[in-house]
Symmetry: C2
Subunit: 330 residues, 2 copies
């Protein structure tokens, strides 16, 4: 691995538990399809008991993006908190196995490693219930100035805004990045997450964020509008570079006076939408790191997203670098 | 779930850790492709460290067969040992979520829940390294006479012959089944397993086994010959009903004077061969339980095997019952 870090992610360190469910289970539990809801450990146990056979795989929005970037040949690092338990070992193994530098000290006591129960409905959509566990224990003490200052770009996951201690870590990282002229990228993560933190997200975007990633629903939630074009015109004023994803409608990239609408990559069948946004961000950031045009960055994002939604799980099965090379995008 | 158990499996309770590898890793470690090798916990840790990102999924040969049977609508039970740790909970959740009765007491001390490191090469073949851990602690005390006597068929996994305590459990179960006029089915599991236990397997087959499952390589290893037809003529004399699988060459079913060669089910691409034999046995036993002809049983076996090799992991992704119904086989 090169000594230099090109992209350093900070996010929740989560193991996904993926299970197929019928829509009736979502109705029964009053869950909104496509969103993420926080639950506590007893709720996680109870819900797990209702799920069918499952598959365990490392996840976490920011960590998925970092794993994708590593797969695209970018020098990556990750900061996030696990416990020193079996799932913590799984998360640690998997992120390191991508070539990513990961040395946040695991918690030796307190709640277990975070789990996200991902319910996949027959339409390929995923609805998530997350027990944050040890990942909420990430704090400013886990943010080393040298790590932040040594990375070209810091990628922050909006979900980290939920646990107060992690939010402090997040703010410290953004400040160090700012002081060292590093790029700061942020993903809004989820509509409910936006609802919970609208004002502070807006403040952060206006002051500290260079690159904002959001999907259609998130950007509309941020600006409290049902009109995507209106949300897009707002974000142009607030963000230096905004990357808005719209599922099968493609993406819209906005910077200064520029606006580029880029098509989605065709997939035969959406098997599992988990990680689509995370991998889009990975492709986009990889393109930026390699000096590609904004349109090429978005095409690379679309390519990585297409790979991830054509199978179960939010980590790549195919060799993303080979795929990107073949498409002439890297 | 019906009160009656149609098939009760006894086997190792294992969580699979599936990772894609290049052939060079197998060469480097001197592993024979397609076989299973036992390793201890330090070896498991070392090998895990060399593997790329992995997926965790419940496995275990006999347990895969039972999960497949449950998916085909058969009333099932399973006996196997986990520890009361995180992977033990995963195994327990997944087997129960299929509708299978599973109430072997988990170990509260001693080695961790068993793990099988499954290395999937680009050709779709799998090579396995298993740390038996808690599953080797299965013993005669875990075999309740009522459970065995209450099941129509007992399905025994050859791998259980490895740990001496489990072998005693296995023999006790076979004896109770025999005393209660229950059917006993056995799978030879693996060529190396056959090499280790040839004489006692032959003795068991001749005295206690009603239905024998083996693949081509295993049956040739059992009779120490390179000629499949010769092995087949031997097994006709030793086993009441022998079901021999031959990958893409289909299967051969032998009973008394009868011999039926049945074609394999076509698959577009073999993604991961893990569980092919286990699921063939599931389909075959489901057919037997529903009074189908031997040819139909083998067709159902081929159908279930085809589903499992077209994706990663040894537990079904598709609804096997719907698939079997559509094919007019159940």
């Amino acid at each position: 691995m090169p000594a230099k870090t090109e992209v350093l992610g900070i996010g929740n360190a989560i193991v996904d538990v993926l299970a197929r469910v019928d829509d009736t289970l979502l109705d029964k539990r009053g869950l909104t399809k496509g969103t993420m809801q926080l639950i506590d450990e007893p709720q996680a146990e109870a819900l797990y008991g209702e799920l069918g056979p499952a598959v365990e795989m490392s996840g976490g929005s920011g960590a998925n993006t970092i794993a994708g970037l590593a797969g695209l040949g970018i020098a990556t690092g990750f900061i996030g908190k696990v416990r020193n338990d079996q799932l913590g070992k799984v998360f640690t193994h998997d992120i390191r196995a991508t070539g990513t530098r990961f040395d946040t000290t695991p918690a030796s006591e307190g709640p277990a490693t975070a789990r996200c129960l991902v319910m996949i409905t027959p339409d390929g959509e995923r609805t998530m219930n997350t027990f944050l566990g040890a990942s909420a224990g990430l704090g400013p003490e886990d943010i080393a100035e040298a790590a932040i200052a040594g990375a070209d770009t810091i990628y922050l996951e909006g979900y980290l805004w939920d646990p107060p201690h992690a939010k402090a870590a997040f703010k410290k990282a953004a400040q160090i990045a700012r002081d060292n002229d590093r790029q700061v990228a942020l993903t809004l993560s989820d509509t409910f997450c936006v609802e919970r933190h609208r004002e502070s997200f807006l403040e952060l975007i206006r002051s500290d964020v260079d690159i904002l990633f959001a999907n259609e629903r998130e950007i509309m939630a941020l600006y409290e509008t049902d009109d995507f074009d209106e949300a897009a015109s707002h974000v142009r004023k607030d963000a230096e570079l905004a990357v808005l994803t719209r599922s099968e409608k493609g993406s819209l990239v906005l910077r200064d006076g520029e606006a580029h609408a880029v098509k989605a990559h065709r997939v035969e069948r959406v098997v599992d939408a988990t990680g689509a946004g995370d991998l889009f961000a990975a492709g986009f950031l990889a393109g930026l790191a390699r000096g590609k045009s904004l349109v090429q960055c978005a095409e690379l994002g679309a390519l990585a997203a297409a790979e991830i939604i054509s199978h179960v799980g939010a980590r790549a099965e195919a060799d993303l670098k080979v795929t990107a090379d073949k498409a002439g995008l890297l």
